[in-house]
């Protein structure tokens, strides 16, 4: 008889401790974003003034430009990374064993294991050596690169659960390779592909370290703009904009989870 994880000594307080450390700061930020006072530590009643400030205050143009960059970069990076990840997953799991398969797998997933700061420095050095001026393009290239493994994981997981019999049935019924992929395999993979896309999107939207290294002067994404603003002192409008980003992330992660769950029910 398994007694269940609850019966391990210390399970209760350990859980509470982890939850507090993880979520207390988020709760504090969210609650204080509705603070009516200009102080970030004393509560001055409920108010939406800092949200208004984000969109109309002195820092608004800066945030708007940064938000636009973040959004377009996330859209493009997620799209390209998802396409590459889908192709990689199909190659890894449908092309049979090929030479260097394990190596390829390691290469795809390497960015998940290498410390981000190392990737950031290396990427910057690479761009400098090749002679590309840092800016929007370099951010985009870097984002596409590190988004691939995040898109790859749910796509590959989904693909592995799809019987090869479906594609073979399609081929047997006179479909060419491309038709078998687009008419049969891709629709069956779709929950994984969407899930991977959403994950890549949110990873790109939230990235700070690598972006900060390769963005070049004058170019900001939302996270770097927030960081820049905080360096001059934390104002309550930062809490408001952070809460907005938190909300967007939460929506995307939930969507990704739901799509995956719906996908798992249908074969």
């Amino acid at each position: 008889m398994s007694r269940g994880v609850r019966h391990y000594p210390g399970f209760g307080w350990m859980t509470v401790l982890c939850l507090v450390i993880l979520y207390a700061p988020l709760i504090v930020v969210t609650v204080y974003s509705f603070n009516g006072s200009t102080s970030i530590t004393t509560w001055g009643g409920f108010s939406l003034r800092w949200y208004v400030d984000v969109f109309t205050g002195p820092e608004a143009p800066r945030f708007k430009a940064a938000a636009w960059n973040s959004l377009t970069i996330a859209l493009i990076a997620a799209t390209v990374a998802t396409a590459i990840a889908t192709a990689a997953a199909v190659a890894m799991h449908r092309a049979g064993g090929f030479r260097g398969r394990s190596l390829t797998f390691a290469l795809i997933n390497l960015p998940l294991m290498v410390p981000e700061i190392v990737v950031a420095v290396a990427t910057l050095i690479f761009f400098t050596m090749v002679g590309i001026t840092t800016g929007y393009m370099t951010i985009l290239i870097a984002h596409i690169t590190f988004c691939i493994p995040f898109a790859y994981l749910p796509i590959a997981a989904r693909l592995q659960g799809i019987d090869e019999g479906y594609e073979q049935a399609a081929r047997d019924l006179y479909a060419g390779r491309g038709q078998a992929f687009f008419l049969v395999l891709l629709p069956l993979m779709l929950p994984g592909v969407i899930s991977g896309y959403l994950l890549a999107f949110i990873i790109s939207l939230d990235d700070f370290i690598i972006t900060n290294f390769v963005k070049g002067a004058g170019m900001e994404t939302l996270p770097t703009a927030i960081f820049g603003s905080v360096k001059q002192g934390i104002k309550p409008n930062i809490m408001a904009i952070s809460t907005l980003m938190l909300a967007v992330s939460a929506v995307f992660v939930t969507l990704s989870y739901l799509v995956n769950r719906v996908g798992r029910k249908s074969p």
């Binding site: 019987d163 019999g165 479906y166 073979q168 049935a169 399609a170 081929r171 047997d172 019924l173 006179y174 479909a175 060419g176 038709q179 008419l183 049969v184 629709p187 069956l188 249908s266 074969p267």
Partner: protein, 356 residues
Amino acid sequence: MAAVQDAVDIRNVTKRYGSFTALDGVSLGIADNEFFTLLGPSGCGKTTLLRMIAGFEEITQGEIRLFGDPIAGRDPNHRPVNTVFQHYALFPHMTVRDNVAFGLKMKGMDAASRRARAERMLEMVHLSAFADRMPAQLSGGQQQRVALARALAPEPRVLLLDEPLSALDLKLRQAMRVELKQLQEETGITFIFVTHDQEEALTMSDRIAVMSAGQVQQIGTAREIYEAPVNRFVADFIGETNLIEVEVTRVDGDRAEVVLPGGHRLTCPSASRTGGRHALSIRPERMSVVAEAGADMLAVVERVVYLGTDLQLMVRLEGGAEFHVRLQNSARIAVPEPGARIGLRIEDGAARLLAD
């Protein structure tokens, strides 16, 4: 050269996976319009052979021809062959109608004709009412029919069926056997049917290839392989049989004289051309219980098993060998009691000497 061209001509085909030989020099000719069955135990290479005909598996050695054309190197979509897969592999994201019309669409048929033909195919398998359902909303038997309709819709010249009935319950399986056979006769398409169920093979097939361990053991009609099995494996795999070791005293063409347990001599058809000790196959339903005086063999009854239409006697022969006898359960026969001594008569054609 054969006068009539074979639909599928398999010439000395070998398939190896690494050092493992899944098929070992298989040669088969399957005629056009034939209902041909590959029969053999699990793992004997039936699916492998089908997959090579369909184009999903490379041929290690040998050649397969479809209507005279070698097909090596031709992609599955360029072979006039369709498959009913063992687990059907219906496209889960398409309706039943779209599943059936898929092959037609790939062949470039226009939407209206496609739809009409899909309707006709669904009618043929009695599923017209289910055209708009998704595969997951069908029972196993219904899915099986959709798979059949989907594979037949593009009018392949050869239909491959990989144990399509194995997931169905007994009643449905029996009904589908009749339907499949009818369908094959109506459409005139060559069916290559894979099964490990000998009853299925015997009831439907024009001819059967019995396979074991990657080799074809015997090819023939149901009657031929049942009544004239060439070796121990076939005799044992097809139907029920008694195999007893006997001494061969004389060989005369395709007949041989053997010494039965107890000393009586019997002349019977033989697949073996040599003397010495060989296996004698005796079908249990071709025996009769007689008085000891006129018997071929004597035995002691050990157990009587009631099987409804039949009775099975499990007896022990003189010399100690176990032996089964099947009697029709009619009111006229006297059922021996366990412990009774009985005489057994081997009817004409019941016994056959096997090659090893």
